[in-house]
């Protein structure tokens, strides 16, 4: 009881360092000429960055890209959520799959699979259509803004769905029923009642997708850069990745505007989500909404939903696996199947850099998630159980990094790490990862903490157990489900981490996603696909392992 204040202070220092250090270093860095002259105030980098004649174009591209992705993801999510909660569509379990499984496919691999399908020179789908209809030109060009928007929109669909679906099912149906009693048709009710009431959730989803696509690096780098379409994240990358001319000052100056935009949007988002609580009325009477009968539209509608889940989940894996077996890309045919071999796999498994990146990513995933989860346990404890002004500060601090675009934070950390001996080590990546993804660990664990009634802890204290014994015997075992899901989330994030790593990764500290990006830049699709499948396999294995371990641990206490 008397130790809590010191625990809170320690955590504020740790989390404060993790979240504020990169921001402060980014700010200081943006006012510096270069790493050597750090601290000598100059605005030259801002002038350089914002008077660049290309900058207006980049900004415009960014607006279109983020706005378009938000539109695609939110509309699709609305459609899916409505169909799920309000119609008698068969096989509804498919919605759970759509909401969760795509998160297991790393964004860079998803982007690559669409390049493999729709690139203008040898995209499999393009070639298929050319052969089928005798066209001379490719039908689709993925290397365009609409191509980027489509892929990013699909990538962000699960997150939009997870925001909109609960709001849709918490909706008080009597609002709709009274509209119908007033003589309005289904469509009119939808437009005049349902959608307006859901507006906060819809806006929240759109804003969150904008924030995520602003931070997105996979789609802009794999799809945008070959088509010479630059957005803020790739523009920053261009400034630091071009060998000798790397300009971290200018990157920081550009990054500041991305960071400011992102933080502002997250504040609007948090405001909206707190508002939506007032707006959406949850009926306590437990009414089940009457399902709209789809009748003849049932199976066409199911085809649409089925097709969506196919392109979200199966298609990327299939395309990657298919490509990994072929020496060069070709349309599926008897000839293609006869040429299949494991050559790409063997090449990747013999490639020292690929192996090193595999090892590094595994290390970062397992060790990083373990450290990150441990930190999250303490932070969640203070946030949920201590409830003081200091714990309020800790809460705001720990959720701040949720709004940080990875690449910008990477630049900020770079300004810090070059001044320390850990520059270019795995430790640097580890710190960066934990700082950026801390909210992903805190969220499931703190909601598990909320479930634990304070009497359960207090009775342990009265029974003669000290605070740490209570933590070990009572709190941690009850938290295990939350801890496991926090660990899985962090580990799978770390295993696929790209945006922070492209900045912080140096020779010797290559990671999987960066290695895949390099393969993509060199057009080595075969080895890329092989490594990609390995990546998906490992992260799925981790998820399953952690889930099994979690249920074992919870059971053990009961059986013992």
């Amino acid at each position: 009881m008397f130790k809590k204040p010191t625990l809170t202070t320690t955590l504020i220092i740790i989390v404060g360092f993790l979240t504020l250090c990169p921001v402060i270093m980014l700010l200081l860095g943006s006012f510096s000429q270069d790493f050597v002259s750090f601290g000598q105030f100059t605005t030259v980098k801002y002038v350089e960055a914002y008077t660049d004649p290309d900058f207006a174009d980049i900004l415009w591209n960014t607006v279109i890209f983020t706005g378009g992705s938000a539109l695609v993801a939110t509309l699709l999510a609305l459609f899916l959520a409505y169909v799920n909660t309000r119609t008698d569509l068969p096989f509804k379990f498919i919605f759970k799959v759509i909401a969760i499984v795509p998160m297991m496919i790393p964004h860079i691999l998803f982007s690559v699979s669409w390049v493999l399908l729709l690139n203008p020179s040898n995209g499999t789908l393009n070639r298929l259509f050319m052969d089928l209809f005798g066209l001379t030109d490719a039908l689709f060009d993925i290397y365009t803004l609409p191509g980027m928007i489509l892929v990013e929109g699909l990538l962000d669909l699960p997150i939009a769905y997870l925001i909109i679906a609960p709001a849709m099912s918490a909706f008080d149906v009597s609002l709709e029923e009274s509209s119908k009693v007033c003589g309005a048709s289904n469509l009119r009710t939808l437009m005049r009642v349902t959608l307006p009431v859901l507006r906060p959730a819809i806006l929240a989803s759109a804003i969150l997708v904008i924030v995520r696509s602003l931070a997105s690096f996979a789609v802009p780098s794999v799809i945008g850069m070959p088509g010479r379409i630059y957005v803020l994240s790739t523009h920053i990358y261009r400034n630091i990745a071009t060998g000798f001319a790397a300009d971290f000052g200018k990157a920081a100056a550009i990054g500041m505007s991305a960071l400011a935009a992102s933080i502002t949007l997250i504040y609007v988002y948090r405001y909206l989500t707190s508002e939506s609580g007032k707006f959406v009325t949850i009926s306590s009477r437990g009414f089940k909404p009457t399902l709209i009968k789809l009748k003849n539209a049932k199976y066409p509608m199911f085809l649409i939903v089925g097709f969506l889940s196919f392109i979200l989940i199966l298609l990327p894996v299939l395309v990657l696996f298919y490509t990994s077996m072929l020496p060069y890309s070709m349309v599926p045919s008897a000839k293609a199947f006869s040429m299949m071999s494991w050559d790409n796999w063997i090449e990747v498994l013999k490639d020292p850099i690929s192996l090193l990146s595999l090892k590094n990513s595994l290390f970062l995933g397992v060790v990083g998630a373990t450290i990150g989860t441990t930190l999250s346990i303490f932070v969640s404890y203070v946030i949920v159980k201590v409830r003081s002004t200091a714990s309020g500060i800790l809460e705001s601090l720990s959720f701040l990094s949720f709004s940080f675009p990875g690449i910008v934070i990477g630049v900020g950390f770079m300004w810090f790490f070059v001044r320390t001996p850990i520059y270019g080590t795995l430790t640097a990546l580890l710190i960066g990862y934990i700082a950026t993804y801390l909210p992903y660990g805190i969220r499931p664990i703190s909601s598990a903490f909320v479930q634990i009634h304070s009497h359960l802890e207090e009775s342990s204290r009265v029974c003669g157990a000290g605070p740490f014994y209570t933590m070990r015997r009572i709190v941690i075992p009850l938290l295990i489900p939350g801890i496991v899901s926090g660990w899985i989330l962090m580990a799978s994030m770390f295993l696929r981490e790209l945006t922070l790593s492209v900045v912080l990764s140096r020779p010797g500290t290559e990671v999987l996603a960066v290695q895949i990006l390099h393969f993509a830049e060199d057009g080595l699709w075969g080895p890329l696909s092989a490594l990609g499948i390995i990546m998906i396999f490992i992260s799925s294995a981790l998820v399953i392992l952690a889930a099994v371990l979690g249920s074992k641990l919870t059971k053990m206490e009961v059986v013992k």
């Binding site: 009881m1 008397f2 009634h453 009497h455 359960l456 207090e458 009775s459 342990s460 204290r461 009265v462 029974c463 003669g464 157990a465 000290g466 014994y469 015997r473 009572i474 075992p477 009850l478 919870t554 206490e557 009961v558 059986v559 013992k560």
Partner: protein, 362 residues
């Protein structure tokens, strides 16, 4: 073990306002008695209990458990709950859902590193005591409410504490089970020879279980006494009103007669208990409980404490009639035997037993 509390104060701040949960409380809880803290919600009874256990820190004052000073704001002493050697049953029972019955009960012994075979014996003994023999390997989630309550009791008793505390332990049970458990708890506690502190807002629970009752209001202890004293002859109007249904009649003390006094009231002169020795001429309040207003065939002038009234309302509730009798401007609530042969509107005679109506200072 005796518990002594001196000048205990605890303030809460909510929305800028200061709320006194405990207002300079002085209290001695005698050893080996069942001591109940009774009061309406928000009166500070639970806060007082939690301060004794050490789950809450008071702002000022001292707490002794036996001869040990466990809290003193002045001497800056705070013994954490785990070192106070108490047992407690929580309102929610706080049975740990991830453990079985054995581990839940064994926990207090495990924390003190007791040898395993002794733990097994002690747990078996505790479970036998609460009549849950053979439940050791039952998962905690597979227990009924009443069973959880007994596991919580076994856990509180297993380390043989000198003091056991209860925070409204019956309030989560349904009415029938509550009655049974109350009886059991009473027999458990009398058998044990242990100091028990019991918090409740339920007056029947307090009356049925306690050796001593302390009635609290707004952070203060108003009155302490055994159940009969509190019920039949409390010193405070609030206590008399809170502990059971009461008719309060205004008037003046007219003449002292030993333990009793003649009381001039709105309905006439009444002979009543006057244990507070309220002097002649002073305004006072007469308290008479509905069940002690007796129908009588005697006539008004045939004896003392007999009045005529009108049966204004009469409601049959099964075990009795609940009625209201009008005497002039005064309306008295009463309970009448269900076999009585009366109807609304009847003129009736009622009698008050001088030993069962008592005077309170107004």
């Amino acid at each position: 073990m005796e518990i002594r509390i001196k000048g205990l104060t605890r303030n809460y701040y909510s929305e800028g306002k200061q709320i006194k949960a405990l207002d300079n409380v002085d209290l001695t809880i005698p050893a080996n008695k069942i001591f109940t803290l009774l009061g309406p919600s928000g009166c500070g009874k639970t806060t007082l209990l939690r301060c004794i256990v050490g789950l809450e820190t008071p702002d000022a004052g001292e707490i002794y458990i036996g001869d040990d000073l466990v809290w003193s704001s002045e001497k800056n002493i705070f013994v954490p709950p785990e070192n106070r050697g108490l047992g407690m049953v929580f309102q929610t029972y706080a049975i740990w859902p991830h453990m079985n019955v054995f581990d839940n009960v064994a926990y207090p012994l495990q924390t003190s590193k007791t040898p395993k075979d002794i733990i097994r014996q002690q747990v078996a003994k505790a479970l036998n005591f609460v009549q849950l023999d053979g439940f050791e390997s039952r998962p905690a989630t597979k227990l009924s409410g009443g069973q959880q309550q007994r596991v919580a009791l076994a856990r509180a008793l297993v380390a043989e504490p000198k003091v056991i505390l209860f925070d409204e332990p019956l309030s989560n049970l349904d009415a029938k089970l509550r009655e049974e458990t109350r009886k059991e708890l009473r027999s458990f506690l009398t058998e044990l020879k242990i100091t028990a502190i019991y918090v409740t807002h339920d007056r029947i629970e307090a009356l049925a279980l306690s050796d001593l009752i302390a009635v609290m209001r707004a952070g203060k202890i108003i009155e302490i006494g055994d159940p009969k004293k509190i019920y039949f002859n409390s010193d405070h109007k609030f206590v008399a009103d809170f502990i059971g249904r009461a008719n309060l009649i205004k008037g003046k003390v007219e003449k002292l007669e030993g333990e009793h006094a003649i009381f001039a009231s709105e309905i006439g002169s009444i002979l009543a208990l006057n244990s507070q020795r309220i002097p002649v001429g002073q305004d006072a309040m007469l308290c008479v409980r509905p069940e002690f207003i007796r129908l009588t065939s005697e006539h008004k002038d045939q004896g003392q404490n007999i009045f005529r009234g009108l049966m204004e309302t009469l409601i049959f509730i099964g075990e009795a009639y609940e009625g209201e009798i009008r005497i002039g401007d005064t309306l008295l609530t009463t309970t009448i035997e269900p076999t009585e042969n009366i109807v609304e509107g009847d003129d009736i005679s009622i009698a008050f037993d001088p030993d069962h109506c008592f005077l309170l200072s107004a």
